[in-house]
Symmetry: C2
Subunit: 457 residues, 2 copies
């Protein structure tokens, strides 16, 4: 770097993708928008900056410490750290102008000044869907959320994942049966760690809460109930015979959600009841979700959420129950990339590079416009370079086809087109070339952004 | 507001759209992504936060005053105020890994703490396209940029706009012919105001620069040359006989750009040479663009840009010439909305609302999944409400179709579907209903986001 120049760097903890990977990232966003749209969800786009008073109404502890907060003029401003608080603000603010149930998605950047480490980002995308009711919201909505997630992941090419379900009311009901209702919070936080810690350590944590060993065993046995969804529900029905109303209501909800997920045609292999999912936050009151890669439990949940009774209690007295889920998109992309699960054939910005071999640019431009009219993504190479540089550009861009427009082609009103992968090159009238490219592209477009073969390996 | 609740407000100067308008905004973004993609541009997504040293390397004056800048830990951070400086940083940083010419688009939020006033935003979207060369970049690229803008606006439904072109070299060459090369900056800034100020005021401003009245008249006569593009070029060719090399080179470029815009099939009514466009910034060195609504010149340019010699001179010694343009998307949307140019028929989040009339939800869910499989956007109404509330929801969402699934329909394996606009309701097998909806939607999908009839009124 010569004197006087400033080093062009990007802040640590901020993902900035190169053009090819960015294309893949954008395809993932597009897939999400498509699926959320098919389910009739509205897009929402709230500001990244909000008044600190509004954004931190409910926050505290870790959140307060991590946020980006600053003053500008008289305003005390905080950058949003999730998409749920802005949603709560939006719904409370616009309550009279919205139609309920209000279904919205939001894909946007959020900010947390976490300690910088590999795979953790300070600026990251969340992709959220929520359904908000006015006063009440049918529990069947809790089945739609995992159905949407199932569709998103399968459309992306992921197959080997499990959406894990539980119900907080069921858990609370069970702690009640053990006369431990006053220790509910601590128990939830302890069993949340069940996948990451040995059983003895969890028991230790529970004992520290003042729970006797017998009850600790019962809690862990309960959280560890295994089987098909039907088998687990049968076992829970057995337990319910001695259970209270809370337990029975939780079980009723869980059984209903499982039944309706099936109605959405989600294959049983992609969702299962897991009684160890607690989602430590007090926020959730019913159904809770986590989603894991079957071969990589160590990554933890890539998509989590649940049912809540009161979206916006800090802003309004209106009771706004809802259910939602959030995908940590930047982290998910980082993981997919690290595992080399992404499809390497989705990195070209164009389907065709048109290479003029003469000075007759208008002819070449006209051909490129024709291709675009057919929906074919097309670049035209305008630079006056040697042939080697021109074809090198096509190679580096990884375009599937190059069209050469030379004197012969212009005279015969043809194009020479080269399949860059096979190396095969033929001359043909433009219509034939267009048809050949379209045929090839329709096969390629079926390629998912995640390479299913790699994930199943 | 009861005690203890915080008022859910949004910061002043921050656009936050209601769900219907947000759908329209997103359709505009989607159109832009589609068109930029057809021209083979890579998407780019740089962080919103950058090191102040990097982002403000070149800034000064108004920019420095307006930016959102703050400290977090040891970092001095600024929120990006445009998408050009982050592009410069990105290209300089990743020079070795990029293929040139590098074509990228970026649609993203930028931040300027301007004085809050109607139609001015502190957080707003810019939609930028740029082509960056390595050392050199053919002037034909300057014709592709307006061709893309033409395609974006026409695809959105706008017809009555003009992309206005000029060339800074031509202007500089003319000031040279008047021996005023040392006053170039001042003259450019003065004639930039030609549309907004009376001629006498501009002359006054020029005289203040120490230019005699005769030359002032010559400058204004030059800036005011009118005619078809061909006629203007003819007049410039006359002037070139007495002109220097700079003027001749500027004219050559301008004529070439005009010729190639035509090759891109842009109709002559949508672009014209306007010698009063100067784009005051020193940054531009050749072609410059502005775009105006023909019926609303008072709005000023909705899309501006030009050719520059050196994208990233603050970060690198590499010469990186480029050409680009920027649409102020949030402001454009605000204007389109204020003028009521937006198509009111694009406000529904779904094509169909499925309304179960019995408790047999799995049947209704199955029908909604079938519709989604056909690409039909579909919501299902799960709430246990009276019929009036259910149909009221369909009304408020403005969905084109409602499907009623009652006992009769389930028994006969049919659906009753209602065209919400005509009020017509028929019962038919699902396949027939799907076909009818698809036919109606294909007609609707041709509706542009801007209502062309309204803009032409």
């Amino acid at each position: 770097m010569k004197k006087g120049k400033i080093e062009p760097r990007t802040l640590s903890g901020f993902m900035e993708l190169m053009p090819g990977p960015q294309l893949q990232f954008d395809r993932i966003c597009e897939t999400m928008r498509d699926i959320y749209g098919l389910y009739g969800y509205y897009p929402l786009d709230t500001p990244i900056l909000e008044s600190s008073e509004v954004l931190l109404a409910k926050a505290g502890g870790e959140t307060e410490k991590q946020v980006y907060r600053f003053n500008k003029g008289d305003a005390d401003i905080t950058m949003r750290f999730d998409l749920t608080v802005p949603l709560a603000k939006f719904v409370a603010k616009n309550y009279g102008g919205l139609t309920f149930p209000f279904k919205r998605y939001q894909i946007g950047k959020v900010y947390r000044g976490e300690k910088s480490q590999k795979g953790r980002f300070r600026e990251f995308y969340q992709s959220d869907i929520d359904i908000i009711g006015d006063g009440e919201l049918n529990v069947i909505n809790d089945a739609e959320i995992p159905a949407i997630i199932y569709n998103v992941f399968t459309r992306l090419g992921l197959e080997d994942f499990t959406i894990r379900l539980n119900n907080r009311r069921l858990l609370s009901g069970f702690w009640c049966m053990l006369n431990l209702e006053d220790k509910a919070g601590g128990i939830m936080r302890a069993i949340d760690k069940l996948e990451k810690m040995p059983r003895e350590k969890i028991i230790g944590e529970l004992e520290e809460l003042g729970i006797d060993t017998g009850k600790c065993e019962k809690i862990l046995d309960f959280a560890g109930i295994k089987g098909t969804n039907g088998e687990i529900i049968s076992q829970l029905e057995e337990l319910a015979k001695d259970g209270g109303e809370t337990f029975k209501e939780g079980l009723r909800q869980l059984a209903l959600v499982v039944k309706y997920i099936d109605a959405f045609h989600v294959p049983e292999k992609n969702y299962k009841i897991d009684l160890s999912i607690a989602r430590g936050l007090d926020y959730y009151t019913g159904t809770v979700y986590e989603t894991t890669f079957n071969k990589h439990p160590e990554i933890g949940s890539i998509c989590s959420g649940g049912r809540y009774d009161n979206l916006a209690e800090f802003y309004t007295n209106k009771k706004l129950p809802g259910v939602g889920i959030s995908i940590g998109l930047t982290r998910l992309f980082y993981i997919l990339n690290e595992m080399e699960y992404l499809n390497g054939s989705a990195l070209a910005p164009a389907d065709v590079l048109v290479i003029p071999m003469t000075g007759d640019m208008p002819h070449a431009i006209s051909i490129s416009e024709r291709l675009r009219g057919e929906g074919i993504k097309c670049q035209i190479y305008f630079e006056e370079k040697k042939f080697k540089a021109k074809i090198g550009y096509a190679d580096k861009l990884d375009v599937p086809f190059a069209f050469f427009i030379g004197e012969d082609e212009i005279a015969k009103n043809e194009v020479s087109f080269k399949d860059m992968q096979s190396g095969e090159q033929v001359s043909a009238p433009l219509d034939d070339a267009v048809a050949a490219v379209k045929k090839s592209l329709s096969q390629r477009s079926e390629a998912t952004v995640i390479d299913t073969e790699k994930t199943n390996r």
